[in-house]
Amino acid sequence: MNLNSILFFLAQTTTAPKPTSDQVETGFVYVIAAFIAVWLLIAVYLFWLQRRQESLRQEVEQLRQEESERLAATPAPATPQYTELDQKLEVSGTVQAPQSNLRG
């Protein structure tokens, strides 16, 4: 199973015309193969990056909820304990209403 046969197989599964022998000879299929490979790698990396960012965002979200829950549960002091850190980390711009705990 070499690259040519794989590419020919792939070409047959679609309606696209089969690469002619001339296209193989001039290396056209190799350019296409390399192009597809590059796009695949880029897509995989972008997906991975996006997934990691998303999970971290969710974690921040969850922690923020937990925090607001605590604030609601304990009799709030005149100046909230976490104000300074909150501003720096921009965790919560506005005081949030207590929501159900995601962790159950």
């Binding site: 296209q23 001039t26 290396g27 350019v31 490979a37 971290l56 965002r57 925090e67 605590r70």
Partner: protein, 249 residues
């Protein structure tokens, strides 16, 4: 729309409520133009006499390899910075350079070996540049492993920095491998040697455009990777604030 943009900005940070320029988004728009332009140029570029159509792989093979060396250099610079200052921002730069370097070297190796199948009749040979590139990739993969096997953030950064400075010895080795060991199959593209490959005018233009496009993509990825690390800091910060009174961390 507003909520979406707010969510997108989460990692980049809007300091004191003021909207900052979102470079990632700007780059995304410019890439929407530059990617098709590059593709058109690559298709229009004249075919090489010997390598015929396959020579076009070169237009994404070479930029990714340049960017790979650049990212490992960024890792090295980050390592030096961390060594001098012990600041977290240098650590972020280091991990960004490390990860992007591995990513771009993978692209370079994959495109290169597909092209080699056509030009040399084999996916892989041990010419000096391939040997040095492989060693470099393995070295940096080991660095990645090292980073993931340390718990303490400060020690993690310190060991990453040391490894980045030590491992950088491979980068000049890769770059000069075509010059030191001229028996290899790779041409020299930059320079004034008589072994240098002379590209035709239009080919050079295509290459330059391709490099610019790839660099845009590189900067975009860098911003995203730094954002990821900032998010990580944010999680750690919130966690610290939340469990302040408990024996956490």
């Amino acid at each position: 729309m507003a909520t979406i943009t707010k969510r997108m900005d989460f990692g980049s940070g809007t300091a004191n409520g003021k909207r900052k320029l979102d470079w990632a988004k700007i780059l995304l728009w410019t890439m929407l133009v530059s990617f098709p332009v590059t593709l058109i140029f690559i298709l229009l570029a004249p075919s090489d006499y010997e390598l015929k159509y396959s020579q076009r792989i070169f237009y994404f093979h070479m930029p990714s390899n340049i960017l790979c060396l650049l990212s490992f250099t960024i890792y090295f610079i980050g390592g030096l910075g961390y060594w001098r200052t012990r600041k977290r921002s240098w650590d972020i730069l280091m991990i960004t350079g490390l990860e992007l370097g591995v990513f771009f070297s993978l692209i370079g190796i994959v495109t290169g070996s597909i092209w080699a199948r056509y030009a040399w009749g084999t996916f892989w040979t041990w010419d000096p540049r391939l040997t040095t590139v492989t060693i470099m990739l393995v070295v940096y993969l080991a660095g990645w492993m090292l980073r993931s096997s340390v718990e303490d953030p400060n020690r993690k950064a310190a060991l990453t920095a040391v490894f980045g400075i030590i491992g950088f010895i491979n980068v000049p080795l890769v770059y000069f491998s075509t010059r030191f060991f001229p028996a290899g199959l790779h041409p020299i593209v930059f320079g004034t040697n008589d072994k240098v490959v002379n590209l035709e005018g239009f080919m050079t233009l295509t290459l330059v455009i391709s490099i610019i496009t790839f660099s845009q993509f590189f900067v975009y990825l860098m911003i995203q990777r730094i954002r990821l690390e900032n998010l990580r800091d944010q999680v750690a910060g919130v966690r610290m604030a939340l469990y302040e009174d408990e024996d956490f961390v």
